[in-house]
C-alpha cells in the first residue's frame, strides 16, 4: 500500500531565494479567510471579505551569517521578504512578506533558537 503521508523534513524553505531549511525546525502556514455572515429575507449569505495569510518559522540561531542575519537585515530596511515553501508537489509562495516579529531565545541548558512571523499574500499551487 502506498504511503500517503508527507514528511515534514521533506519541506524546503527559501527566503529571498536563499535556501535555509537546514536551520529550520518547524514552520506553520496560516490562511485565515474572513467570512461575513448576512441574514437575508430568504436565507443566510456567506461572503469572504478578507484573507489574512501568515507564515511562521522556528529555527536554530545562526549568528550573523545566515537566516537570522537575513531577517534582521530585512527588518532594518523595512523591506518585505520573498518566502517560498515547497513540499514534493505543493508550493506556497509569498512574494512580498512583511516581518511581524522576530524572536531569539537562549537557555543555558539548550541551544539558541529563533522564531519569525511573516504576513502578506500567500498563494498555493
Amino acid at each position: 500500500m502506498a504511503v500517503v503521508s508527507v514528511a515534514g523534513a521533506a519541506f524546503t524553505v527559501d527566503l529571498g531565494a536563499t535556501q535555509y531549511e537546514d536551520q529550520i525546525t518547524s514552520g506553520t502556514i496560516d490562511t485565515t479567510p474572513t467570512i461575513t455572515r448576512t441574514k437575508t429575507l430568504s436565507d443566510v449569505a456567506f461572503d469572504q471579505t478578507d484573507l489574512n495569510s501568515t507564515v511562521s518559522l522556528e529555527f536554530l540561531y545562526d549568528e550573523n551569517s545566515g537566516m537570522y542575519d537575513a531577517i534582521q537585515t530585512a527588518i532594518a530596511a523595512a523591506a518585505p521578504v520573498a518566502v517560498g515553501i515547497e513540499s514534493a508537489t505543493g508550493v506556497w509562495t509569498g512574494a512580498a512578506m512583511y516581518i511581524e516579529s522576530a524572536n531569539t531565545s537562549f537557555a543555558a541548558d539548550g541551544v539558541a533558537t529563533c522564531s519569525v512571523s511573516f504576513t502578506g499574500t500567500v498563494t498555493f499551487a
Binding site: A9, F11, V13, E21, D22, I24, L60, D109
Partner: protein, 155 residues
Amino acid sequence: MTALSTESRELLIAAFRGSSGAGYWSVYERAWSAMEGDWTEAALIVGGVGMRVYDTIPAVPKPPAIVISPDSPWIRPNRLGSNLNYEVRWKILVIISPRQNAAATLDTEAAVDSVLAMIPNGFTCQGVNAPQLQDIGAQGTILTTEINVSASMKE
C-alpha cells in the same frame, strides 16, 4: 562523506585529547578489542596529555577513564530539508575505580568538572546523572557517571 555522527564524536574526542586539564584519567578512543594495533597512538596520547581516548565502549574499561558512547535516542532528525539535518546525542561515561570510597567520590567530582570544562563549542550539556556502581563481571566493579551532551549537525 563522513557521517555527521562520526564527525560529532570526533569533535568530542579532539576536545578531550587536546586538553591537559584531566591528566589522571583515560579517554577511550577504540574498543578494547581493537586496541592492540593502536597502542603506539594510545601511548603517545597518554604521554602527551595523560589520557587515552576511546570513542566506543571498551570490553574492559580500565579506570580512571572516560568513554564516549551513543545516548538514546542517538540521532533525532529535527530540521527541514533532509533527515540528515539532525541532533546527535552522546553519553560521556566517567569511569572511576570504586576501590576506596572517599577517593572515588573525589575523583568522580574532579573528573566531572574536567569533562564539563572540555565540552567543545556547539555541544549542549543536558545534565550529569548520579554516579552508579556497575558490575563488569570478572573484572570487578566500576563507578560510572553519565554526562549527556548533544549537538545539532548538518552537511
